[in-house]
Amino acid sequence: MYKVDPKTGKQKFYSTAGFQSIASALISILIGLIVGMLIIIFVGLTREEISTKGMLEGVKLVFFGLFNTGRVDNQLTFGFNPVNFGNMLFRGIPLIMTGLSVAVAFKTGLFNIGAPGQYLMSTAATLYVAIVVPTETVPAWLVWVFAFGAGIIAGALWGAIPGLLKATLNINEVITCIMTNWIAANLVTWFFDVRDYLKNSDEAGKIGYIKTTASNGVETAKMGLDKLFPGSQVNGGIVIAIVIAILIYIMMTKTTFGYKLKACGSNRHAAKYAGINDKASIIASMAIAGGLAGAGASLYYLSGHTEFYWSTYMSLPAEGFNGIPVALLASNHPIGVIFAGIFMSLLNIDGLMIKSLTAYNEYIADIIIASIVYLSAFAMIVKQVIGRKGRKAGNTNVNDEPDPALLEAQRAAAKAAMQVEANDAEPAPAEEEGGNK
């Protein structure tokens, strides 16, 4: 895997693991975008209502949708669009957090496919606290803190359940995560179903919605970002998400705690042998992962103006599953997750642009976005190809065996791809409503 400069004895830049991760992520994204473009062209050629011009516009929007500033004289115009930029950052928040959630679990040898459930539990806890605690008596910022804390705790507890089952009874966390996801979906629907005082009854036509936190005066501070990106939904949540990502990075790489978790994830037996409490580590990993997914939901709904559609009939939030491709795209690196999360949300924006500005309908747009997500999740496989090139020349291990980490990654990528597919097949009303208010 390593190429060494014969003169200095140092590793060559292009053969470092970091470079390979970034390169493979970029290559996957490019492949995804190209495939998205091909789908646009294919659909454009087969549908009569789409003109050649419309098709070219679609292609442009796939690559530069973020910079679209609308349509003037029947021509798309491009430039800095503060609304798109701001919305991209805002919608990136939950993706960054669920991406972190999956990444942390991966790093500690666990596959957290339970992010959607953790996200939902946190949504309920956050909204409940933020709406019920009266801002007349408690300062709004304190309610915000309580609600945020409640969301994290709810997510962490929900994540700890599969962790506990894994640690004590050695039940595969994937199975329990999937089951807890659906339990969460039912639980949350029921929770809101029986609490009429949480429902939005003030506005007509808002049947099935929960009140916004802003109705109780609780909103995330804008931190000046609204000046930078006027007209968008962005707020300080993105700053908080980035800070959390950096803290997680520090925790995983610089602290004894992170070392313990990783040791346990890489080889539970050896960790146990060394006197590390393997059971506690597994539970802690899953609780942290759950807490992160929970924080994502909290930050999303505490923005004040995002609405939760409670009457979802047990669908799972897309943000939860999308954490998996985000983590894969970032090679599970917490800092990489920031960029990967924002990229995923950029795709959302592109999809919206395609939908609203061209003759492509929303389903086509979704398919295009889904295929880009799908291919982006192949970052690990691309990395393996890059790695293999280096490996052929550079392997000094004579007793070579196939690298189990790579096999694991391949399996995970396949699983994630399956999930994304399954997920995209489902309608996800909750997400739609949030952004389109």
Partner: protein, 511 residues
Amino acid sequence: MSEYVIEMRHIRKEFPGIVANDDITLQLKKGEIHALLGENGAGKSTLMSVLFGLYQPEEGEILKDGQKVRIHNPNDATALGIGMVHQHFKLIDVFTVLDNIILGAETTKLGFLQKKEARKKVLELSEKYGLKVDIDAKIEDITVGMQQRVEILKMLYRENEILIFDEPTAVLTPQEIEELMEVMRGFAREGKSILFISHKLNEIMAVSDRVTVLHKGKCVGTVNTKDVTKQELSTMMVGRPVQLEIEKKPAEPGDVIFSVENLTVPSKLHKNDAVKNVSFDVRGGEIVCIAGIDGNGQSELVYGITGLEKASSGKITLCGQDISGASIRKRSMTGMSHIAEDRHKHGLILDFTLEQNLVLQKFREKEFQKDGFIKFGAVRKYAERLIDEYDVRSGQGPVTVVRSMSGGNQQKAIIARELDRDEPLVVAVQPTRGLDVGAIEHIHKQLVAERDRGRAVLLVSLEMDEVMSLSDRILVMYEGEIVGELDPEKTNPQELGLYMAGAKRQDKEVE
């Protein structure tokens, strides 16, 4: 027709920074057992991987029956009748023995497996060569020795004529080694040609016809086994004269540091207890060896002592403290180092770097952390010191990923970590398993040095030589019980063998 079934001429294989094989020529005659001897990292496995098609050599050629051949991948090798038993078995744990043997060479009819024929053929082969296997058992449930027989049957099933054995005895008990050698002799009589990779001189002397010795990637020479002595071979292999017998002063046992009273540990495999009511003491300044055939409760005894498994009853005392119910961490802090039996499962985290592995227990100590943050500088310095002191060799020093290191150096890293912790008791389980004579000499010297510094050493070993040369007292375990305590000065391998096989036992009163 050439005299040689396989000829590898002037093979050169390079990896960046390393020439693994430098102009090596190896000639294998039909019907001979040809040993390939060399230290860890001498290039034996690389050479065999070239022959098996796993690597392409930069220079050199391979001839089969005098015809030049190209071997691009293991399928080519199989087509040429070359089979290999790898050091780490390539078996699927959850498949049965039969399924593993036929995997990749299944007979099918209309896409359906024809297991009946396969079963018949495997049973015949197993009968013919005395390779006893439980054909319907899953791999995960059978012993390592039987797994190896499965690997051998795999080669026979494919009707290979050239059989490569990569360190086949590293994981076997003395009895199994004896059986394996008999099987190998049988193959040779039948005209099959065998390449036998090993660094165990006894076995090479016992079984091989000729030996090719490698040293640091170069061929030192090929000799007829009957013309050389063990000492000569070891000198060729290591490049310097090696002490085959460890020199040590008589032990001066001090106070009892560690004692076990009536320890019973349940078995994970069956309902009986794996360790039954075992009691013994270890004093400072002595090496007490638990001898026995693999699977007689030694592993479970160690698990019970170190806390990896819960003992069902009994009392364990270390440095005057009762640690019977203590956690692994508590035990280790009270004064126990543990060189684990399975270095890949328990000893190391293979995907971590060397320095991370060297602080596996110590990372929580003040020296290496402040307020929960790891002091990377201190870790690096410590790792560099250990690497230097214990001569752990690796590609990139402290930041080498342990997975890429050779087995011998992985073991050295574990030994460095455990001995440097300076605890009064060292529990060493098969510390030299799979290592070459140079490394074994080194480790034996270290264990004796630790003894002379007054530490108590509890050694668990399956190697008769090691037991006889290293220990000050021998406790023989048979079916979970200690059946005898012997003085290595007054006993001999034959007597020890009788105890190990359960044919002889001392009464409980004789202490």
